[in-house]
Point group: C2
Chain length 439, copies 2
């Protein structure tokens, strides 16, 4: 074990008296934006709502250091997307295509069907599933522009049958990412605007002269984007408000420590707030992983970020046994869970909360991030307790169907009448009573 | 047609030059809470988060004019719920039981299944569905205490398999509604606290010494409740932020005008902000409904409320034909849609947005509000464009399953490596590359 004073990553044990306190401190994440962010976002939202394109252009010039005078300069054509795709090196174009196909294939399985059933008296009840008319997809720009995020956000919308997919991606200093445009081409995006921040969220939520108003906005973004999404929620639908990405790996001690170290790095390299936690009941194994971390960390391109993330929010946790490991998983409800164990399928029944479960030593999170098929947009910060991966269901909604026969309405009318009068809603009661057959 | 100067309800025609403007004005609804509400809610949330039970007790004494010193005085036992149910008059107990059974039966159909599939190389992909551990249900108290809302919120949670259902219902001045308690008994609620407002939302979101922290909060409430729900969203899941209730009725001119008037009243009697709109291409029929409204309105117990609602937000709209009526429906995306026409089933394919669709002259909304089976918690204010009725799916979440075979991981590793390097995430790439078989 390395000297505690210079340890890269914290070591915890469930046997420690203060374990739960330390774990709570480690997991603590306040995603709340401060009042100054809130106020700036409110101003931008109000400005775009009122002035439309002009406000979007001004904000874009200011925040992305652009110099445009018309929205047409902030719009990419289908031809530009196609050209970006065609211009990629073969290996990148092929990898994108494979990923896209696999993601599409998986998400096809998520499509729910409308259904209905008829009762003895002829009354029909059911549920009708329809896609959204228009979805907006926010794609971060600049350094963290990820083509995989374009695929993961746009393909489920496309599979759901959304009529029009509008993507926004800022291009600070005018820098365009060709892989992002190529992915938009592949994923069936209909419109792309090179705008970002709260001004892009406002444009999508309210519509402008050029940007069509959408019904739902999905996709990750910085604190301004997250704050703006929260503010327009209700006006439009939104996906979750994402916190920093995290992984919890459970190892039975038999996985190569180098593999595990790199799996933790693959999370830690995202940003300094990312969280990577390894749990095992094998103390020597944790020592070996810690050594691997110390040995491999200096070989990373993004060493500084990974180091900051691991030292601030990472942990190697020694637990008692499998049962306690499962307890920890359900307590944390991790975004990504790697079960690096011999028979992960025997664990599955007891895992209640996790965004995505990567099973067995061969299934590293990175495979799921790019191309296994399931979505990489997952609930963070313990929200897997109540949220799901982004999916086709996020781009559809249901309508209840009620078609009473005369006989059915008569019987239901009697029940409704009693209950409505119990609530002193007598117009409800009388509306129901009109449908009762005189006998 | 009645004299315009004293008309109870507005008459619009799609042929009017200003029609779309007038419709927009009619539909306009700002659910945004002002800064003073926001500040008061923030204070209450912070106080409950920090001081727990003590803060809840103080707020309850203050806002609900109670005088309690301990949370036990704000808790109802299973025996009390049972006693409330047993003590109901027979016809009410039976009506509640019939409604409860029908709601349960319908929602059973909404239960999704976990699924998985295996690829040629042995890789398994899937989706696992699990219920929430704990759901919180907010039930408004006082005058607008609705037992039907208890059934509609708690039964889907119960059907979903939620382990623990916690209900909060304020009892201003200590007034308890026995029908509400009886419904809680019937719907399988586990804990009831007689608290409300932002303090109840805070208690559910953060947990206190007595109130268990829940994973999701559902149920309608006043502006303080709605503001508090928006604030804790992310910390816990929430259902939609509900606006005032609305109905759009489309009539082909053949439904009894008295029936239609009463159907509109059944919406308008809810509150002064409720909205009731009738659409028809038969001008004389609209005249007849207007006369029925004027004749029947004075016979309502809640005449004043219904009158205010109809005159402020109601409308009888003359349109050209069926196609234009459907266009209006999709434009408004009504919470409740009554298709009071001869063959409503032929309309269904073209209806894209509506919370619940009541088909045919016999299916009045009131039947669905209480006992048809589908949920009465529905997306308001046009949010049916992107939201669904409350359902079993609101109390469950999904986890992605990825289990790569050695061969599968090797192939996916190659693709992931290319894409990760394209995003400059080299630890991702190296984690994937470890899984590539040396050949």
């Amino acid at each position: 074990m390395s000297d505690k004073s210079i340890a890269t990553i914290a070591r915890l044990s469930t046997a420690d008296a203060a374990f739960h306190q330390r774990l709570d401190a480690l997991l603590d994440w306040e995603g709340v934006s401060d009042k100054s962010v809130q106020a700036r976002v409110d101003d931008i939202l109000a400005d775009v709502k009122q002035r439309g394109d002009a406000a979007v252009i001004e904000a874009t010039n200011r925040f992305d250091r652009m110099d445009v005078t018309h929205m047409d300069q902030l719009r990419l054509s289908a031809q530009q997307l196609q050209a970006a795709f065609d211009g990629l090196p073969d290996h990148q174009r092929e990898a994108l295509a494979v990923a896209s196909e696999r993601i599409k294939h998986y998400h096809e399985r998520q499509k729910p069907s409308s259904w209905q059933y008829e009762e003895a008296d002829g009354t029909v009840l059911g549920q009708k599933v329809t896609p959204l008319d228009r979805a907006g997809i926010y794609v971060p720009g600049g350094k963290a522009a990820y083509p995989s995020s374009v695929l993961m956000n746009a393909i489920p919308a496309h599979v759901a049958g959304v009529r029009e997919i509008v993507m926004v991606v800022p291009t600070p200093d005018g820098v365009v990412n060709n892989l992002v445009l190529a992915a938009a081409h592949l994923a069936g995006v209909d419109h792309v605007f090179t705008i970002g921040g709260a001004q892009a969220i406002a444009a999508l939520a309210y519509g402008t002269q050029s940007v069509p108003r959408v019904d739902k906005i999905v996709g990750p973004g910085n604190i301004y984007v997250a704050t703006a999404k929260r503010a327009v929620f209700g006006q439009v639908g939104i996906d979750m408000i994402a916190g920093p990405s995290e992984i919890m790996v459970v190892s039975d001690g038999k996985t190569d420590p180098d593999w595990l170290a790199m799996d933790l790095f693959s999370q830690a390299e995202h940003d300094e707030d990312a969280q990577a936690i390894l749990v095992s009941w094998d103390a020597e194994h944790l020592d070996a992983v810690e050594s691997a971390i110390d040995r491999l960390l200096p070989t990373l391109e993004r060493e500084a970020i990974a180091h900051a993330s691991l030292s601030r929010r990472g942990a190697l946790i020694l637990c008692k046994d499998q049962a306690e490991a499962i307890e920890l998983v359900n307590r944390v409800a991790p975004e990504h869970l790697e079960l690096s164990v011999a028979t992960p399928e025997t664990w599955l029944d007891e895992i209640r909360h996790a965004g995505a479960i990567f099973m067995g030593r061969h299934t590293s999170e990175a495979l799921g991030d790019y191309c296994a098929g399931p979505n990489h947009v997952l609930p963070t910060s313990g929200t897997a307790r109540f949220s799901s991966p982004l999916g086709v269901y996020d781009f559809q909604k249901r309508s209840s169907i009620i078609h009473c026969s005369a006989e059915g309405a008569s019987e239901l009318g009697k029940v409704a009448s009693v209950l409505a009068r119990g609530e002193s809603l007598t117009a409800h009661a009388r509306s129901a009573e009109y449908r009762i057959n005189p006998e």
